[in-house]
Subunit: 358 residues, 2 copies
């Protein structure tokens, strides 16, 4: 199965550990190696390296080439970031160029999944469905009333003889408030939108032609370049001029093509914040629910995540519900519940032009 | 006026800033330079450098010699620490050796005093009293119901024509609980015991002879060494064998000699913890009562003390009532109210034999 791994993000949520040139997907956040490598490894039973296409930002090309120096994954560098629609279109024409006429899985490079086989089963099943046309999303079964994600609402069941569940999509829901999130969880009809979906290249490109025609034109020039051997130049020339638009907004919310959702309960996390990483690693907690990496001592402290670096001793006394992340040149001390707001610090650093810390 | 500055402490309360070989008295804690230098400078109007005797631990001799390389203060190094009674006795024989027959002020090296002239006035007045015999303590007028200090209770007023207040000491009180501390503050009869007192060398040595005779014998050998020019050797030989005993316990609580207290309201602080330093530096607070040194940003944070070092950026988000002290090799994150318990961390480091952090 061909897969397109979207690795274009330059997230700020793991500052000070993540930086502009070392975003989350290249970090060993969960203890299993760089997330982008883990994402590729996870796919091994269903996708050979040659079938994996990684789309990333030009500034991270060197890092990726180092990580995958002895592997046959395909790496495509966007000259500039233009949101997800161009990225997905680029992945689709690249897969088609590789001879792929069947389903392609599109997935982010920096998610965590604990139940690998459950995940791959859902992905393969979504592939089978999508080859009859339409776009098939994976819907993550909610485990808490999360207000930080968008939701997919299912409508009627799509009959199938395989015994798997698949539903037509009723609609996509914005990030809800807490009360709505509780309703969503109880309804049994709502799933987290993990940004993982499956479709053929032809379906993707047909949709782009209809709803974002200027992007389609650009992609056709690039595809022509792939055939003629002028891919790099054409990509550079065309990409700069593309409009920044997300696949969700540009296609998913407008399309008339059938949309399906395959429910998936695979221990998924987007690892979207220090708090979410802390929750994910609950197996590593001490008796007072502290998670600590490095040379630390925690006295009368609880519910905290303390991470140090080599050569620095960290002592905590009487703390509760804190994140303490120390790196060589920057230290973060934050209330656990505020870890979504770390961008405020990055904004401050941007304002002050402290590039060395970004 | 001769003064003996007691600088033997190797306090752990300012860990990780203070270390075994760099205790509080040698640190610039308050922003006015090393506390021991500040203490000497404060005395300038009443004591010439030649009249100042600093008694400190052998391990800090080099540091002190560096700090006072261009000054004429006398520095006496104890070969080993033996608590305050031997230290005070040593200061007394050294002052007597310098020809001092009048009052000597004994004071710690690491206290903060905001009203210098008020403090010196009280000290000089205590000197006058003490030259008629007895020991005269300075009693700090309480400004809060402090449970961390011992108290001096006054009895009747000692008549004097100068217009100054001086009282006989009724007794010394242990560190009180909170309710008692409130009573003490309201009584108007209780003062904080700051460990500052004035007496002649003859008074001190007479008391030592009576209550700690073995110490007296040792001191006489050392005094003989001062006269004969074998001071260093005699000091080394004798000191090791001395009993560790505090002046408060060994003399003050037992003596029949008259004890007086001169009230003093001079903005005194023993700067005994990170919290007490934080309180002392209230003039440097931001609008949310944060105190920060170094390259920091505090977002939605309050009542916190954040101190960094050169080359490290510290970002705080949503914190309250915290102490964050970063040094090159150790980081402390503590609840403000727990700063008295920092010794627990030092004990842990001692147990683990992490000498490089002590």
């Amino acid at each position: 199965m061909h897969t397109v791994i979207m690795a274009g993000g330059s997230g700020t949520r793991f500052w000070p550990f993540s930086r502009k040139y070392r975003p989350k997907q290249f970090l060993d956040i969960t203890g299993h190696g760089p997330m982008i490598v883990e994402t590729c490894d996870r796919l091994a039973p269903i996708a050979r390296d040659e079938e994996i296409i990684i789309v990333l930002g030009d500034e991270h090309l060197g890092e990726a080439q180092k990580l995958f120096s002895d592997r046959k994954v395909r790496i495509v560098a966007e000259p500039v970031g233009r949101n997800t629609a161009p990225c997905i279109g680029l992945g689709a024409i690249y897969a088609r160029h590789l001879g792929c006429e069947r389903a392609i899985a599109f997935l982010p490079a920096d998610h965590f999944i604990s139940d690998r086989s459950g995940f791959l089963r859902a992905l393969e099943y979504a592939g089978t469905i999508s080859e009859n046309g339409g776009i098939v999303t994976l819907g993550i079964v909610p485990t808490r009333p999360e207000t930080g994600y968008g939701y997919i609402r299912r409508s009627r069941s799509y009959s199938d003889s395989s015994g798997y569940s698949v539903y037509e999509v009723s609609n996509f829901e914005e990030k809800p408030d807490y009360n709505k999130a509780i309703q969503y969880m109880q309804s049994g009809e709502h799933y987290w939108n993990a940004g993982i979906f499956v479709a053929t290249a032809d379906t993707i490109l047909k949709e782009i032609r209809q709803y974002i025609p200027d992007l389609y034109k650009g992609l056709m020039i690039i595809e022509e370049g792939l055939k003629k051997g002028s891919f790099d130049e054409d990509l550079k020339r065309v990409y700069e001029g593309l409009r920044s638009v997300s696949f969700d907004y540009g296609i998913m919310e407008k399309t008339k093509t059938p949309l399906f959702v395959v429910p998936c309960d695979c221990g998924w996390s987007d690892v979207g914040s220090w708090e979410s990483l802390y929750q994910l690693r609950s197996a590593d907690y001490d008796k007072a629910n502290n998670l600590s990496d490095g040379d630390t001592i925690l006295i009368d402290s609880r519910n905290s995540f303390v991470s140090g670096t080599r050569g620095k001793f960290i002592a905590c006394l009487g703390i509760d519900n804190l994140i303490v992340i120390d790196t060589d040149d920057a230290l973060l001390v934050a209330n656990m519940g505020r870890s979504q707001e770390i961008r405020k610090i990055v904004e401050h650093l941007t304002d002050k032009d402290k590039r060395e810390l970004l």
